[in-house]
Amino acid sequence: MIDDDPQSEPPIIIAKGMRKMYGPHLALDDINLEIPRGAVGILGPNGAGKSTLFKCLLGLITTTSGEGSVLGYDIRTQGEQIRSKIGYMPEYNSLDPNLFAVDQVRYAGELLGMNPKNATQRAHEVLEYVGLKDQRYRKIETFSTGMLQATKLACALVHDPDILICDEPTNGLDQRAREFMLQTLNRTVREGNRSVLMSSHVMDDVQDLCDSIVMIHKGKIVIQSSIEDLVEQVDKEIEMVIWGGASKMERELSSLGLETRRLGRVIRIKVENDSTIDKALEAAVSAGVQVRQMKEYEPDLEDVFLLVMDKLGAQIKGTGDLMTAGHTGGV
């Protein structure tokens, strides 16, 4: 278990003025990062620079300028040492369909320099940990999406890395497998005292697992903060479920000078001051509608994300817009 406050420990990843250019295209622009130990979500629309950031952190590509370190190793010159300490779980399929799961994980360990005996023993342990104990001797080609994701996680965990980089770990998973994946990652952070760097388009997943987030847009870091602090900065709202004239209710609220958002029967009203609730009820009386439900709305990470993207001018109406066919299983 983590006893100390992660914020008091030195950052595990540091980047100072990091830039990466692919020809004339600027992929990362002046990245300044200090990522603490624990679980951190990397958010951003497609093409924002998340993958480029991962590749820079893994020491796979050289930065155009700036500097950075992972676990104290220089990303420009010590990529090999960094990759020995990191477990990387790719977004897309990266498994040999002809191998048994245990052989795939063992081979992943051997590629890190583990001797075959240790790698085999460890492969059994991590496969049990990710929930594939009974499927160890099944060919990967017979696996479901959830099992494939779990096998990729096992490959990343085989050498007990200090940092786990997960690219869309819940991609294509059903609810049960998704919960299990998040529980496993959570346990890795809380019990294993390991750090997880996770990119995801599913804000709920990030909120469930991560303590803080880094948001990237067009190669720039736009937010680097704890989720708790971010959510506090979002305006408070009252959520009302209206029956019998939501449009009329919306007009009444607007006429009273209240700022609203509406989705069908659900209307959210920005809390201006203590009188907002009274005004909302007055509007309901005037409009002659039923208020079936009324509660204080707690903003979540998705609200933060959409708010930030809106301020940055990104044409994103919801996080579903960020998903490709790959994320949704082709749907």
Partner: protein
């Protein structure tokens, strides 16, 4: 595990739970993070893992790269076929055929040593190109197809290590069949005929010339084959591409020779460049009119271009797909 990925709904566990009355029905297993504090080995261990994964797969399907059973059968057939002179040598010595038919056909001399490695029929028509095609087929293209390059490059494996170990794996498999069978053939002749030092002194330079020619063949076929494997996601493309290059250039060169009476087009045929160089190394009359230096330069160019292509395509293999 069962909770997340099992095919049942969990009710079937109820019977087992009865035996352990303290366990709750919903608690299928206890997930515990187990740390590992072992030491990771050096670079050679990582490289050896790649080599072993690809080479052991030829011998056993368990735990290593999967070669299709038909591929493994074909490799075995080609290997056994490449050893056929050995029983003939045994028969020759058994019946005391000194200077007779068997001796001429399979005994050790410049022509037979050249033919063991570089003879067109059946070695370079049927055996070596097919062997190369099936071995290199998915060597790199499979990584591209399945995304398994991420498994390598997200670990402390450099592209140089990856490429060189794949290259070495293919070369060792080809070398085992081509060069080892050649070595076994020569050694068997000495053993079966009970030859002495004088024979050895006479034939060893020729043998070494043939071995060098065989090694160049292995290197050239490996370079071309792996380059083709690296530019595609299909093992079929690499295999067919390789056979097309070997047979196509040979056929076109033959047609040009028949039509125009010049052998210089053979400089474009990997097999003929090897055969020409091999004839020079073993000291037998050349079948080609153009100088051997053209074939040697052509071989160097073919290898250089193939390796350049291989390196540039391996460089483009991604860890993260975008």
């Amino acid at each position: 595990m069962e909770a997340a990925f099992g095919s049942g709904d969990g009710d079937e566990e109820a019977t087992a739970v009865v035996a352990k009355s303290k366990a709750s029905l919903g608690q299928i297993f206890e997930q515990t993070y187990r740390p590992w504090d072992g030491e990771l080995g050096p670079r050679w261990m990582r490289n050896y893992a790649i080599f072993r994964h690809h080479v052991y797969g030829v011998f056993t399907s368990k735990g290593h790269r999967q070669y299709h059973p038909m591929v493994r059968l074909l490799i075995l057939i080609i290997f056994l076929a490449s050893l056929t002179p050995i029983p003939m040598l045994f028969l020759s010595s058994f019946i005391g055929d000194d200077g007779g038919f068997f001796e001429k056909m399979w005994g050790i001399n410049r022509y037979n040593l050249w033919g063991q490695v570089l003879g067109y029929f059946p070695r370079n028509l049927c055996m070596w190109p097919l062997l190369t095609a099936v071995v290199v087929g998915g060597m790199i293209s499979d990584d591209r197809q399945h995304g398994t390059s991420a498994i390598y490059f997200s670990r402390p494996i450099s592209r140089l290590d990856y490429t060189s170990m794949k290259y070495l794996s293919v070369a060792i498999i080809l070398g085992f069949v081509i060069v080892f069978s050649y070595f076994a053939y020569y050694t068997s002749a000495i053993v079966f005929k009970a030859e002495g030092w004088a024979y050895l002194a006479d034939t060893l330079p020729i043998f070494l010339g043939g071995m060098l020619a065989g090694s160049i063949l292995v290197i050239t076929y490996t370079s071309i084959g792996l380059a083709l494997s690296s530019i595609s996601q299909s093992r079929f493309f690499a295999a067919i591409g390789f056979l097309s290059i070997i047979y196509g250039t040979k056929l076109v060169s033959l047609l040009v020779e028949l039509q125009f009476g010049t052998t210089v087009m053979y400089a474009t045929s990997p097999y003929d460049c090897l055969a020409h160089t091999g004839q020079f190394l073993l000291g037998i009359p050349s079948n080609y009119e153009h100088p051997v230096s053209i074939s040697v330069v052509s071989l160097m160019a073919m290898n250089s271009i193939s390796i350049w292509l291989l390196v540039s395509r391996v460089t483009s293999l991604e860890v993260t797909r975008e």
